[in-house]
C-alpha cells in the first residue's frame, strides 16, 4: 500500500508540474533562506574568528595610557622599556613569551621600485606569541636580535610589490636609506579588520629603535599566555608588576591598559551569532508560511479533484489509501521543495560568499535539519487536506461538478 500510494503521489505531482512547482515555492524559498542565512552566518563568524585568531589566541596587548577612549587630558604616560619586558617575562607565572614592539613608517626601495610601509621592530618572541609562519627564509638569529642588525622579514605585500612575487630572501632592500638584508618572507594573512596585515616589514627592535624611532621606547608589548593558566590571573599579576615598576600606588589608576584578544573574539562571536539567529528566525517564519501555502493548495486540490477521489473510491480504494496518497503528495512535494531549496541555498552561498569576503562552506547539520523540517511540514500541513479527501462519500464525490 505504501509503495502504491507513493507511486500514485509521484504520478500526480508530475502530471501537474506547474501546480506542484507553485505549491513548493514557499518551501523552496523558506529552506533556501534558512540554510543560506545559517551558512553565511557561520561563515561570517568563522571569518571574524579567524581574523581575531590572527592576533593570536591567548595574547594580551599592553599599551601605555588608559585604554581606548579613556583618560583624555594630562601628560602622556611613558612608554615601556626593555626592563619591563624582561620583568614580565621573568616574574609572571603563565607567561610564555613577551614580544616588545616599536613601530615606524618607512619607504622601501628595491631596484628602482619603492613602497611605503610599516616597520615593526620586535624580537623572535613575536613569533612565539602569535602563529605567523614564514613561507621562506628564517627568523632572527640570537646574534642579529641582540646586536640589532639590519636584517628584515617582509610581509607578502612587500614581496608582491617590490619583488613581483619572486624570491626575496637573500636580496637587499633599502629602508629609509638603510640597506637591509631580507632573511625571511611571512605567509599571507590577508585583508583584515585592521587593514592589510601583510603590508609590513619586521626587523629586530634594536635596529628600529636605533635607526628609525631614535629612542629605546616600547610602544606595545604582546604577551603570550600559557593556555593552562587563567588569563585573568595572569593579567592581574602583570598589572601588579607594572604598577610597581611605574610606581603607581594606593587608589591611583593604572596608566597602562591590558587588552585580551580572547575578549574581542567572544564579543564578535556573540554579535554574529545573535545576528544569525535573528535572520534565521525570520527565514523560519517563511518556512511556516510555505507550509501553509502547501496546505492551501492541497485543500484546493482536494476540491478540484473531488471527482478523481470519487473514482478511486468507486474502484475500490479504501479511505486510508486516499488519505495516504494525499499525505504522500504533500510530503513528497515538500521534500522536493526542500531539496531544491537546499540546492538554491548552496548557490546563494557560493554567490554571496565572495561579496561578503567569507569562505564558502557546507554545513551538513543545517542542511539535514532544514530537509527534515520540510518533510515535517509536509506531514503536518498535508494531513488536514488528506483527511478531508479520505472522508468524502464516494457517490457525492462522483456526482461533484
Amino acid at each position: 500500500m505504501f509503495g502504491t500510494t507513493f507511486m500514485l503521489a509521484i504520478r500526480s505531482i508530475f502530471r501537474h508540474k506547474l501546480r506542484s512547482f507553485l505549491t513548493t515555492l514557499g518551501i523552496i524559498i523558506g529552506v533556501a533562506a534558512v540554510v543560506a542565512m545559517v551558512t553565511l552566518g557561520k561563515a561570517t563568524t568563522k571569518a571574524a574568528q579567524a581574523q581575531v585568531a590572527s592576533l593570536g589566541t591567548n595574547v594580551l596587548q599592553i599599551r601605555p595610557g588608559q585604554g581606548f577612549g579613556r583618560g583624555g587630558g594630562g601628560p602622556r604616560p611613558p612608554d615601556f622599556k626593555e626592563a619591563d619586558v624582561e620583568a614580565i617575562a621573568r616574574q609572571v607565572a603563565g607567561v610564555k613569551a613577551v614580544a616588545p614592539q616599536a613601530q615606524s613608517t618607512a619607504t622601501v626601495i628595491y631596484q628602482g621600485a619603492n613602497w611605503s610601509t610599516t616597520i615593526n621592530g620586535t624580537t623572535n618572541a613575536f613569533f612565539q606569541v602569535q602563529p605567523w609562519p614564514l613561507v621562506s627564509g628564517r627568523t632572527f638569529s640570537r646574534n642579529e636580535e641582540q646586536a640589532g642588525n639590519a636584517v628584515c622579514i617582509i610581509g607578502n605585500t612587500i614581496r608582491t610589490n617590490l619583488f613581483r612575487g619572486g624570491e626575496a630572501v637573500g636580496d637587499r632592500i633599502r629602508v629609509n636609506g638603510v640597506s637591509c638584508d631580507v632573511i625571511g618572507v611571512l605567509s599571507t594573512r590577508g585583508q583584515g579588520g585592521f587593514g592589510d596585515q601583510d603590508d609590513v616589514i619586521i626587523m629586530p627592535i634594536k635596529q628600529v629603535q636605533r635607526r628609525f624611532t631614535g629612542n629605546r621606547d616600547i610602544r606595545l608589548m604582546m604577551v603570550g599566555v600559557d593556555p593552562a593558566y587563567d588569563s585573568a590571573q595572569v593579567q592581574e599579576s602583570i598589572k601588579q608588576v607594572l604598577r610597581e615598576r611605574r610606581r603607581i600606588t594606593g587608589g591611583k589608576e593604572d596608566d597602562f591598559n591590558i587588552f585580551d584578544t580572547a575578549q574581542i573574539s567572544q564579543t564578535l562571536t556573540g554579535i554574529t551569532t545573535l545576528l544569525t539567529q535573528i535572520v534565521t528566525a525570520v527565514a523560519a517564519i517563511s518556512l511556516v508560511v510555505g507550509g501553509i501555502g502547501i496546505m492551501n493548495i492541497m485543500l484546493v486540490s482536494v476540491t478540484e479533484r473531488t471527482r478523481e477521489i470519487g473514482i478511486r473510491l468507486a474502484i475500490g480504494a479504501v479511505a486510508s489509501e486516499v488519505l495516504l496518497q494525499f499525505l504522500m503528495e504533500a510530503v513528497v512535494l515538500s521534500c522536493l521543495g526542500g531539496l531544491v531549496g537546499l540546492v538554491v541555498a548552496q548557490l546563494v552561498v557560493i554567490g554571496l560568499a565572495p561579496l561578503m569576503q567569507v569562505e564558502f562552506l557546507f554545513e551538513p547539520q543545517i542542511n539535514v535539519i532544514a530537509f527534515l523540517v520540510s518533510a515535517l511540514i509536509g506531514v503536518v500541513f498535508g494531513y488536514f487536506p488528506a483527511q478531508r479527501a479520505a472522508g468524502l462519500n464516494p457517490i457525492d464525490a462522483l456526482r461533484h461538478e
Binding site: M1, T4, M7, L8, R11, R15, H16, R307, E308, G310, I311, R312, L313, A314, I315, G316, A317, V318, A319, S320, E321, P394, I395, L398
Partner: protein, 240 residues
C-alpha cells in the same frame, strides 16, 4: 441457469431515505429483487424512480436505510465503509454515464488503476491492462489520454477499467447516455459479448428500449419500487 442457483444479488424490502426531518425523501420504498449470477439485466423506469439509487446500493457505494442486501450471501448493509470498498475492489466493476476517467492520464494507466489498489506487481498490471484494452479494441490507443479519445472510446476505456479485475458483477448506470446510437450499439454488443463469454453478471440502467432489448431481463422501476420484470427481446432463450 437452474432455478436452484442462489442469486448473486438479493434485495429484500430495501428502502432509502434521503435527508432528514420534513425535507426527507423516500427514494426506495421496499425493493425486492433477485439477480442470478450470469444474468444480463437492464433497469428501466421514469426519471426519479430510484434506478440510480438502487445501482449505488448494489454497487456498495451507498447503504440502504432499511431492508437487506445480500451479495453472495453476505449482508452488505452490515458492512462498514472499508469492508464495502474491499467488496468493490474484489467483485465489482463500474461504468458511469460520464465515463469518469482520470484526466491527463493515459488509457493504460486508467485501466491499471484498480489493479494498483489490488497491489498487483507492475508487469502483471501492464499485461492485464493491455489485455483489457485489447478486448475493447483499443490496444493501439493505450497511451492516449481521455482528452485525446472520442466519447465512445472513453467509454470503452472505462469498460476496460471495469473488467480488468475480472469482476463478478459489472454495474453500468446509463453507459450509453452520452453516446450516439451507433456508438451505443457498439457498447451494447460488447457488453453482450462480455456477458456471454466471461459469464459476468451485467446490470445496466438505460432509458432506451433499444438498448434494454440487449438484456435477458428487464426490470422496470416506478416510484421507488420494482413495477415488473420481463424477458428481453433478444434474449434468445426465455427467462423465467
Amino acid at each position: 441457469m437452474a432455478d436452484s442457483d442462489p442469486p448473486i444479488i438479493r434485495l429484500r424490502g430495501v428502502t432509502k431515505v434521503y435527508g432528514e426531518g420534513p425535507t426527507a425523501f423516500q427514494a426506495l420504498k421496499g425493493v425486492d429483487l433477485d439477480i442470478a449470477a450470469g444474468d444480463f439485466v437492464a433497469v428501466m423506469g421514469p426519471s426519479g424512480s430510484g434506478k440510480s439509487t438502487t445501482m449505488n446500493i448494489l454497487g456498495c457505494l451507498d447503504v440502504p436505510t432499511g431492508g437487506q442486501f445480500l451479495f453472495k450471501g453476505v449482508h452488505v448493509e452490515r458492512l462498514d465503509r472499508d469492508q464495502r470498498a474491499l467488496l468493490r475492489r474484489k467483485y465489482l466493476g463500474f461504468v458511469f454515464q460520464g465515463f469518469n476517467l482520470l484526466a491527463r492520464t493515459s488509457a493504460l494507466e486508467n485501466v491499471e488503476l484498480p489493479l494498483l489498489y489490488r497491489g498487483d506487481p507492475r508487469k502483471q498490471r501492464r499485461e492485464a491492462a493491455m489485455e483489457a484494452l485489447d478486448k475493447v479494441g483499443l490496444k493501439d490507443w493505450w497511451d492516449h489520454t481521455p482528452g485525446e479519445l472520442s466519447g465512445g472510446q472513453q467509454q470503452r476505456v472505462a469498460i476496460a477499467r471495469a473488467i480488468v479485475t475480472n469482476p463478478d458483477v459489472l454495474l453500468a448506470d446509463e453507459p450509453t447516455g452520452n453516446l450516439d446510437s451507433e456508438r451505443s450499439i457498439e457498447i451494447m454488443e460488447f457488453l453482450t459479448e462480455l456477458n456471454k463469454t466471461s459469464g459476468i453478471t451485467v446490470l445496466m440502467v438505460t432509458h432506451e428500449p433499444d438498448m434494454a432489448a440487449f438484456a435477458h431481463t428487464i426490470v422496470h422501476f416506478k416510484d421507488g419500487l420494482v413495477e415488473r420484470i420481463e424477458a428481453g427481446h433478444k434474449s434468445g432463450e426465455a427467462v423465467a
